[in-house]
Amino acid sequence: MADLRSEFLGISSPNPFWLASAPPTDKAYNVNRAFEAGWGGVVWKTLGEDPSVVNVSGPRYSALYSNERRVIGLNNIELITDRPLQTNLDEIRQIKKDWPDRAVVASVMLPMNEASWAKYLPIIEDTGIDGFELNFGCPHGMSERGMGAAVGQVPEYIQMATEWAKKAASVPVIVKLTPNVATAVPPAKAALDGGADAVSLINTINSIMRVNYDTLTMYPTTDGMGTHGGYCGEAVKPIALNMVAEIARNAETRFIPISGIGGISDWRDAVDFLALGASNVQVCTAAMVYGFKIIDDLVDGLSTFLDSKQLSLDQLVGKAVPSVTDWQYLNLNYIEKAVIDQDSCIKCGRCHVVCEDTSHQAITHTVNGERHFEVMDDECVGCNLCVSVCPVDNCISMERLTTGNDPRTGAAISSEVLNWTEHSNNPMRKTD
């Protein structure tokens, strides 16, 4: 079994799976259960100033389902912890004492004045926590009060608050970023400039789940009125991966350690985040949907995967980052065609109809009077839509053409790399 022991900013944990700051980490009771189940660490649910916030006593969550009611996405309007600070501090101190090998990081959200940071951070740090995570991400409720995402959307505020935190704290400081921005790079850069030891991302995405079809009000509501929440779960993973990769490959931010968050449900999701540059990962929604037991598959799956690839955890981190680039650098001379394996084709015709209706009319429906689906290379642009919609795993694959002419364009296939920056159709092309 691969060694999954993780060191993130010098904070050690038996595996790289932490529970993200969220309802699962609000109390000692939950955190004890999480550690008993095998989680490597927790980011304690965000602490704030006393008196504590007040949560609604109605629906805080709502879900986007697949038809068999599997939760694909989750929306929440819960605020930061609504318990007195001292209660949380007492519990954190006890937890850290009881679980010395696990990572315990405190998430904090404080108003935009330095005095507050100077006052609270030392008190919190005194519990024995391993680090801070600054919550500049929550998009609902707290952002109306000038905190959370309201800070995370303004790089100058991020830098300012990070500087205050770094001054007040002696343990590592992680800045948690909001995805409710056009690009994650300037906020990450601001965190770095403010002295952050790492960034974590993503927090939740602004969302309204749906309307109630009977009342034609938004759903869910609190006494007839609703408000946008924060969206999470597996549906947000691609958005998170892009932001992680952006930070990991940008020249100005590439050296900042990343804790990856966003829709991690099984070990493959963790591989995605790690390979795209995260050094560890945080999980919330999957635990809120299935309970803490999912840690077993996360640990076992990742370990088995690393063994099969003969990689260490450190070697996996960032492995895929060099493969991410800008569109303009993609090789326009590279040609693939879809190939349908007739033995595994079940003849549902989905590839045909989507190609016919929405793409390039490149898949047959009838051949010699028989229902038969086959790619016509002279029409196929290699778009991968048929692969994407085929219900049978590995039935349609993409194969590269390396010699001869592209049957679609008639042009000779070139082994030379040609990207947009040099393409003759590009009026801005480089001309030496």
């Binding site: 697949s66 038809n67 068999e68 009611r69 595994s344 079940i346 003849k347 549902c348 015709g349 989905r350 045909h352 109809v353 429906h365 229902r371 219900p391 049978v392």
Partner: protein, 435 residues
């Protein structure tokens, strides 16, 4: 029936009989339906649609279930097949839509289309909500002979198209084999009449029960007095074995016993033999054999002259008989029915074997097919005892259409009869609008 102390009612209590005749395929719950609906791949030019004799847009109605649009889903079904409720219960889906399902190719478990169809249509039959609107009145009047699936399907479509219809039905009730022939556990809670009521609720359909062609009403009179005539008379006569002993007491036509069973208020009061022999290999044979067993017969032997693959009953139906405790014998032909006033058994000749097989019986059901009662219908061209029709269900006589079991190509399936009636109605409508 002559006295025979082996034939008696009350072999099982009323409660036991009711349990034995409960829904063969219980309806899906909403959760089950959503999970099953999600298994549909929404195929392009879906093979299940091609396999459905009425061409229901199956992926379309399943999408309605998925999206909680059951009303739209029911409309998608019923606009192609007004008997979509009964067909959901009685269609041999394993040789129609579900056999064609592409899921068979990689997991051998098709989408449960029949059960989903029932899920989509049940609410409409419960509420009686009218999903169809009649076109402007055409002033034309069509006579339909036969109140079974073909006739009712034709009547409904013609009514929707704006015509007025009179249905001449030989029985006390409408429904034909849906009412008198389907096994009771496939259409519980009087569903056949619920469906009939729904069909009639469109309006414009006058029903004359106990009006058989050739006795109460004559074809010439219909041709004279109506703008068009549709014949959906079915196959009213049972085939005979043509062997010694066929006239003994206790030897019955299966179809008549099934009709009695369907009309009984309390099935536990029906006379049931101790040893029952069923001759035949089709759906009627299975139905009478299984129902006899479920009424408490001790031994039910179903005997068929050829092998299992030749039986017109589907593999599912054969398995249903076997799991119900019916013994199925293949490759045995009845040579002689024996008895003294009342049947006591049958001697069978075995294929490839000179020895005879003897089975005891106090009741024998003949289920070897039906034939046309063509009295008064000599003017129509026929072939092998069924009317010849073209692709529009037109007979050889102008102004007369026919469909269902009574025509060449009729295959004893409700769903096929419905399709014939629908095609005929569309053809009649075009004919009347062009004339």
């Amino acid at each position: 029936m002559a006295a025979n102390n082996q034939i008696k009612s009350g072999r099982l209590s009323k409660a036991e009989v009711e349990e034995n005749f409960s829904d063969l395929h219980p309806p899906l719950t909403r959760s089950e339906a959503l999970i099953e609906a999600d298994r549909c791949y929404f195929c392009y030019d879906a093979p299940c649609v091609t396999a459905c004799p009425t061409g229901i847009d199956i992926p379309g109605f399943i999408q309605g279930i998925r999206s909680d649009n059951l009303r739209g889903s029911a409309h998608t079904i019923l606009r192609e097949n007004i008997m979509g409720g009964m067909c959901a219960r009685v269609c041999p889906t394993e040789i129609l839509c579900e056999e064609a399902c592409v899921r068979n190719s990689h997991e051998e478990k098709p989408v449960e289309i029949g059960l989903l169809q029932r899920h989509a249509t049940d609410p409409i039959f419960e509420s009686g909500e009218q999903l169809f609107e009649r076109a402007a009145a055409s002033g034309k009047k069509i006579a339909i002979v036969g109140g079974g699936p073909a006739g009712l399907s034709c009547a409904h479509r013609l009514a929707v198209l704006g015509h007025d219809i009179v249905v001449f039905n030989r029985d006390d009730k409408l429904g034909g084999l849906n009412e008198y022939g389907i096994a009771a556990y496939k259409a519980i809670d009087d569903f056949a009449q619920t469906e009939v009521d729904y069909i009639l609720s469109i309006g414009g359909i006058e029903v004359r029960n106990n009006s058989a062609l050739g006795s109460e009403v004559e074809l010439a009179e219909l041709v004279e007095n109506y703008d068009a005539v549709f014949l959906g008379v079915g196959l009213a006569n049972s085939n005979a074995l043509g062997i010694d002993g066929e006239d003994l007491d206790g030897v019955e036509n299966a179809i008549e016993y099934i009709a009695d069973l369907r009309q009984a208020d309390d099935m536990s009061t029906l006379p049931v033999g101790r040893n029952v022999i069923v001759i035949g290999g089709g759906m009627t044979a299975i139905d009478v054999a299984v129902q006899s067993k479920r009424l408490g017969a001790e031994q039910v032997n179903m005997v068929y002259r050829r092998g299992p693959e030749k039986m017109s009953a589907s593999v599912f139906e054969q398995a249903l008989a076997q799991t119900s405790g019916v013994n199925i014998h293949h490759w045995a032909s009845p040579a002689r029915i024996v008895g003294d006033g009342h049947v006591t058994g049958i001697e069978f000749k075995l294929e490839d074997n000179d020895e005879a097989m003897h089975l005891n019986a106090d009741v024998v059901f003949k289920a070897i097919g039906q034939k046309l009662d063509g009295s008064g219908l000599d003017a129509l061209a026929s072939e092998s005892g069924r009317f010849v029709v073209d692709a529009d269900q037109k007979t050889s006589v102008q102004g007369i259409w026919a469909g269902g079991d009574c025509v060449v190509g009729g295959d004893d399936l409700t769903v096929s009869a419905v399709q014939h009636g629908k095609i005929a109605a569309i053809s009649i409508d075009q004919y009347l609008r062009n004339s």
